[in-house]
């Protein structure tokens, strides 16, 4: 412990120097390239913060099994529908390839995962997943909820990953309208509050009018996301860049705060299959549909 007032002048300079050294160290960490920051983050998360993260995983499991069984069941059924539909697509694809004499592609899969939310300011628009490189997850793996695309894996550890959702300022997805009439890039538009966040389809051709209510899906260009994952529906025009292109506001198909369980895509050498048929009639069955089916 120290005296209430900081002693002699020499002591004050020593303290100032020490504080400056730690400030420089913090600045160094801040400006460090992402690839160097990752191991530091992982090391702290894997040691000091591990009990807290494990506790949330346990709480999510208990909460889901005790409080919200119908919702969880509906979510699971919806995700199962995605997987099942994808399996039938894969089978159809395999048969067509056989008929055409083409070599079969390597099997692809989605890995089910639990989502761990982060409540700190710096963790906004990000979440943790309890799957990692051991499960085949890579940086860039798409994260899909029952309603559509939730986000993308940003960092992949051995057994856990850090992902961003669509509200993150760095989120981008190559997109198109469901009928293929307009292509562009979907990015986030942050509101004053998280609940006001929306998506925007930017770079759409000027000569094409996209009507409100039109569904926007991933186009598959760039190979990051499979083609055909629902992103949202067009709400209206955002702006028209005179004579060149238009941008539209899109109501997102998935609200990140409502998601607890997801599917994470495992990237393959040959790219992704077209998932358009999965959301051709809207999102896969959700709570009401599932309850009705029972």
């Amino acid at each position: 412990m120290v005296e209430y007032f900081e002693g002699p002048r020499k002591g004050r300079w020593r303290n100032l120097g020490m504080a400056a050294a730690f400030l420089v160290l913090a600045l160094f960490l801040f400006f460090l390239p992402g690839s160097y920051q990752t191991p530091i983050r992982s090391a702290i998360r894997g040691t000091v913060l591990m009990p807290f993260l494990l506790a949330q995983s346990e709480l999510v499991n208990r909460g889901a099994s005790q409080v919200d069984v119908p919702v969880l069941r509906a979510e699971r059924d919806s995700l199962a529908a995605v997987v099942a539909a994808q399996a039938s697509l894969a089978e159809e694809n395999r048969r067509l390839r056989q008929l055409m004499g083409l070599r079969s592609r390597a099997p692809r899969s989605f890995v089910p995962a639990e989502l761990v939310r982060i409540g700190t300011a710096g963790g906004e628009s990000t979440f943790l997943l309890n799957v990692g490189t051991e499960d085949g997850i890579r940086v860039g793996s798409p994260v899909i909820a029952s309603g559509g695309l939730l986000g993308v894996v940003w960092e992949a550890g051995r057994r856990s990953s850090h992902a961003i959702d669509w509200t993150h300022t760095d989120f981008r997805a190559s997109a198109m309208t469901a009928d293929g009439s307009a292509y562009g890039i979907v990015e986030s538009r942050r509101g004053r509050y998280r609940e006001e966040d929306q998506l925007a389809l930017v770079g759409a051709p000027f000569h094409v009018d996209v009507a409100p209510g039109t569904r926007v899906v991933t186009s598959g260009r760039g190979g990051v996301y499979p083609r055909g994952i629902l992103l949202g529906t067009v709400v209206g025009i955002e702006e028209a860049d005179t004579g060149w292109r238009k941008s539209y506001l899109v109501r997102p198909a998935v609200r990140p705060e409502a998601v607890t369980h997801v599917l994470v895509g495992v990237p393959l050498e040959n790219g992704y299959d077209d998932l358009s048929p999965l959301w051709s009639g809207g999102a896969p069955p959700t709570r009401g549909d599932t309850a009705g089916a029972r």
Binding site: V2, E6, N15, A19, L29, F30, R45, G122, I164, R190
Partner: protein, 159 residues
């Protein structure tokens, strides 16, 4: 408020509680920022250099779950730790009124610094964030800190 091991147990409890609320339960602004409260209270017991180191370490813990602004909390808490320690040169007192004002201003300064450093938290206009949301969060943190201090003083029978 006198230091000693009971005081540092209070600090550890605040830090653990912060991560339980924000990581284990996943609360955002619904839970108070007890980490900043811990930095501010602890800094008053340390020299400027040590308080900066202490703030840096707690900030680094917070940064471990931040992919977008890694290091921002470390920068902010280092500065807050140092300024908290140096505040002894300007303000003397352990009354509840003084400590609550100290926590309120400290947390407000922390949010303003973090807003300046970390682009990821920028949402809406700066005026709304710094003059509306930040004071509310600061008030919440100050009240929480005050409750912690009262409980601590009751348990340890200190003034």
């Amino acid at each position: 408020m006198k230091g000693g091991w009971p005081f540092w147990i209070l600090i550890v409890v605040l830090v653990v509680l912060h991560f339980v609320l924000h990581l284990s339960f996943g609360f955002g602004i619904e839970a108070p920022d007890l980490l900043t409260v811990a930095v501010l209270l602890g800094a008053r017991q340390l020299s400027g250099g040590r308080a900066a180191a202490y703030g840096f370490l707690l900030g680094l813990l917070e940064d471990a779950v931040s992919v977008s602004a890694f290091g921002a909390a470390a920068i902010t808490q280092t500065l807050i730790g140092y300024l908290g320690a140096r505040s002894r040169d300007l303000f003397v007192g352990d009354s509840l009124l003084f400590l609550s004002l100290y926590l309120f201003l400290g947390k407000w300064a922390r949010d303003a610094l973090y807003y300046a450093v970390a682009a990821v938290v920028r949402r809406g206009d700066a005026v709304g964030a710094l003059l509306l949301q930040a004071p509310v969060a600061a008030f919440y943190a100050a009240i929480s800190g005050l409750v912690a201090i009262v409980v601590f003083r009751t348990l340890t029978r200190s003034r």
